[in-house]
Amino acid sequence: MFKDITIGQYVDGNSVIHRMDARVKILLSILYIILLFVIDSIALYAVFGVFTAFLVIISRVPFKYIIKGLKPMLYILIFTAVINLFVTGGETVLWQSSLWKGLKITKEGLTIAVQMVLRLVFLVIGTSLLTLTTTPIMLTDGIEKLLKPLDAVKVPSHEIAMMMTIAIRFIPTLSEETEKIIKAQKARGADFESGNIIKRTKAMVPILVPLFISAFKRADDLAIAMDSRCYNSGKKRTRMKQMKMTWIDAAASGVMIAFSVFVIIIQRF
């Protein structure tokens, strides 16, 4: 069920994107996402697509990982497309149902649907590229460093980062466990495939209950194991891998900022 989740799946490599500082990579990814929501012309999406393809190619991450990240999104994408296609009102009617006049596709609806789908696709590709080229520890360390200034207003930056580290670590463990429980319940005659939504939701209860019980047990064990290894919520903590910025980060920031300026200028005129 969760096997397709690519978050936290790091693909080892030595490309320029792999060698970028995590902090810079996170900030530039945020810029990428903002940009994605600024643009709204099909031509600019094409430009964006070319730029994204360029990033994927220089990251040297095998294409199948990118596709894998998109797979669990399939239903959301279809849903978004359908909703936008039929709900958006507009002047230019392209198609109208002969049975019910309210059901129609307009040019505006089609444009919005295509844009929303492209936005989501690029959003997933962009963020997967970040997590696929950054080790989970670097990623959470980067987030911690970026949130550090907010400590002054009582944002627990270290705890947030630690929570994310543990969550990433436990995704495969818990997904394996879920599969095991589903198999065990099926072997006892549980039926997850038939019936209406309510019935199917009810069928999830015997999966969730044991899953939660075991998750609490794991949390308990982990807390003791962390205590035993002198964990002390970030006080005087050091890091094995130090972050440092190099010319690669300067160059990458330059490229990204130039691209943003270019996109915004085209968007405005």
């Binding site: 670590r169 003791i224 002198c230 964990y231 002390n232 094995m240």
Partner: protein, 282 residues
């Protein structure tokens, strides 16, 4: 190394009758390999947790390398002196990459980055897992995960390592990998080892076996002396190693064998000798 003086412990202060540890003295010598046996619920895990200050005894005192575990200012010294490995390898891992997992403890202790790197490489080498430094623990076998957990504790450079049923969830191959690693640490590094286990064959390789029963120490001796008392061991709800059982049954049949046999080799030799002697006498 570890000195427990008349310790008692209860999880429930309200109902002091339910003591899990009932006045227990134990001294573990530096460099020794002690196995702890006992039926389910006899208090082994509870005892282990008092050895690094995860639990504080309700009465009595535990000293680790001379430090009182109640002394809060020394808690990190105590925990890095007496490292602890637990039963479930999945539940004690924090990081999603092996080398980050091993780096976790020294990072907590504020060790210099270059020194952490050195320790991580060395500890992974010690447990024979260097080639997996960059892998994700979720792809490893149980035995490999447990060896990573041992490396993660060794990175604190402890003097003593306490293992609470480290092989309970492993297959026979994983079990022998882990036991080999532990034995090697004790023999070549002179590391003090406390091994809690349900496997009698594992206890047989220790220098000393402590048997717990309802929160007390019932027996405390060398493995061969302990396992020669087959009936008493069985009374305490435990088993003896298979070879010991075999010798015990043979003796019952009137075949005179030494009763302190605990390894397959010893048994093999003793039986061969017996057979040779037997043919000579005829």
């Amino acid at each position: 190394m570890i000195d427990a003086k008349n310790i008692t412990f209860t999880y429930d202060e309200e109902e002091p009758k339910k003591y899990v540890l009932k006045g227990l003295d134990l001294h573990i010598k530096r460099g020794s390999f002690v196995a702890v046996l006992g039926h389910n619920g006899s208090g082994k895990s509870t005892l282990a947790k008092t050895f690094n200050g995860i639990l504080l005894p309700s009465g009595g005192t535990v000293y680790v390398a001379g430090m009182d575990t109640k002394d809060e200012t020394k808690i990190f010294d105590i925990r890095s002196t007496a490292g602890m490995v637990f039963q479930n390898p999945d539940n004690q891992m924090v990081a999603a990459i092996v080398e980050d997992e091993v780096a976790f403890a020294p990072e907590n202790l504020g060790v210099e980055p270059s020194e952490i790197r050195r320790r991580v490489d060395e500890c992974l080498e010690t447990v024979n897992m260097s080639e997996f430094a960059k892998s994700s623990p979720s792809r490893l076998s149980g035995g490999q995960k447990q060896r990573i957990a041992i490396a993660a504790v060794l990175a604190m450079e402890p003097e003593c390592i306490i293992l609470d049923e480290p092989t309970a969830m492993l297959d026979p191959k994983g079990r022998s990998e882990v036991i080999k690693t532990i034995k090697e640490l004790n023999k070549s590094r002179n590391m003090t080892v406390v091994l809690i286990t349900h496997f009698m064959e594992e206890a047989a390789i220790a220098d000393r076996v402590v048997v717990m029963n309802h929160g007390r120490i019932e027996m405390d001796d060398t493995p061969s002396k302990i396992f020669s008392q087959v009936e008493k061991i069985k009374e305490l709800g435990l088993d003896v190693p298979q070879v010991t059982e075999l010798v015990f049954e043979l003796k019952k049949q009137g075949i005179d064998l030494p009763s302190d046999i605990i390894t397959i080799e010893e048994c093999h030799r003793a039986i061969l000798e017996k057979l040779k002697k037997g043919t000579k006498n005829d």
